[in-house]
Symmetry: C2
Subunit: 325 residues, 2 copies
Amino acid sequence: MATLKDVAKLAGLTTSTVSRVINNRGYISENTRKKVDDAMKDLNYHPNEAARSLRMKSTNTIGLIVPHVSHPYFAEMISNLEARAYEKGYKILLCNSQCIHEREEEYIRMCINHKVAGIILCSGSVALDVFDGVDVPVITIERFLDNRTASIECDNKQGGALAAEKLIECGCKHLLHVGNIGTLSMPADMRTEGFREVCERKKIPFVEIYTEDTQYYRMEYDEMLENVLQKYPETDGMFVNSDVIAAQTLQTCRKFHISVPDQLKIIGFDDTNIAQLTTPQLTTIHQPVKEMAEIAINLLNDSVAGKLVAKRTVLPVNLIERETT
Amino acid sequence: MATLKDVAKLAGLTTSTVSRVINNRGYISENTRKKVDDAMKDLNYHPNEAARSLRMKSTNTIGLIVPHVSHPYFAEMISNLEARAYEKGYKILLCNSQCIHEREEEYIRMCINHKVAGIILCSGSVALDVFDGVDVPVITIERFLDNRTASIECDNKQGGALAAEKLIECGCKHLLHVGNIGTLSMPADMRTEGFREVCERKKIPFVEIYTEDTQYYRMEYDEMLENVLQKYPETDGMFVNSDVIAAQTLQTCRKFHISVPDQLKIIGFDDTNIAQLTTPQLTTIHQPVKEMAEIAINLLNDSVAGKLVAKRTVLPVNLIERETT
């Protein structure tokens, strides 16, 4: 079996340079990296990650805990996080908590056992004691967590305010807001705050509906939407907390022969790819998912390197006007 | 620091039972597992996975290599694979190759270095020599790979045939098929075979369009679809290779004032969640993604345990009729 020395000899480099390439330490030119890669390939040399991670303090793996993989928002977030992680030499251990509290805790413990370099948490509101003794960076995206390394959010309040302003500007008089999961406290709750503030200032009445985590996990809002539109038939403007809900609202409107945007105007949230695939296409609040993912990986990487990192990062959102307003 | 012995003492079990729970070996009752979990939690005991995987032949991690994370089909596949893996005690190392050949190879090598228990490959057509010296199971989903452990496919040919039969039954005389990526050989190519056979037998002419991997990766087919519908204005029935393409075809039809299904009938493939969010809702070929994921994890698990596993598994598909036919 080939050794590190054999690789160094074939690549025409010192063993310490080869070791630096394999461990991704310090600056390494593309040329050097290629030489080492080629030599490793020729010799069928596989550095043993398990042995390496024992010697090193941690692996180059990031534990990514999400509540949902197939929801378009998380699918895009995971995709962007994986791409940025790859660029920085990290691997992603994917954990889908399915909004189950016990599973979140179990995954966090599993990540620690695997000696991950850090954890990115996009799921739930984990009890603080789960993190007792955890000494790796924990980055949260769109979730609250006291005393962790860093949190990244979009400006949810601004998003809610933009939606209210737009609907009122369009002449809507009876607004309805489908908000967050009633039992969880999340940064996304601030969308409701922003929406409410504008409505109160402009003296436009609005109804607020909470959702349930089973609706969220199954992405099934049809029944709730049908009940709501029957209960509040005067509604002429809706702001809903995701494009998935907005797309299902369009289906419900079609069933009830409500013309969008003539009789009812709709604004979603996220700006995922489905926003451009509905008829009419969705007006929505754009979350800068790509930038949020990039910042999350950078913060984690800086924190691993012992640098001081921003505790809270809030990115702006903007309204993308399409056809539902 | 707590030891395995401390955990056993607190749980009132033998160290070998605790070891079996931690290593997920043999039958363990829910009650025993809970006792060990509670004791580990109370003592803040973290079995060191890196040390454990050095002693054991491999880790309990599965390397999952996909070409695309945010594509609805892969998002659903990943979600189902993760859920089944969790049930069997495996973790998922997520690798997004982005259809880049070099990256696929790099990820495969990375998986081997990490001593994964097995690899599930949903990406590309990797050169065989990459797997030289790989002695873990490699399961492919909807991809060809000679001499690997097992492959799982849906009956793509049946899917193509069902689509052709439906369109012809609806009275379509000028069919168009938007097929697979021209430069890659994949099981999904058989959709075209099935479609062609039926058309030829029933003597219905059809045009065949190939797609490009950049269109696939960006999920942007608009320009191609506009060109195609302008070049073949007589088209009255389309079978396209994914719901994403079908949803974008609906947008193009709207732009060109082509009424669906009156003037043009459309059938997609996959039956992902967007199929029910378009207007009109998509008629499509349902892939049994849930069952495919379950079989993939079972085959991998059986293969790890040294059992003989089916080399090729083909699952049936069915046509879900909604509103585009």
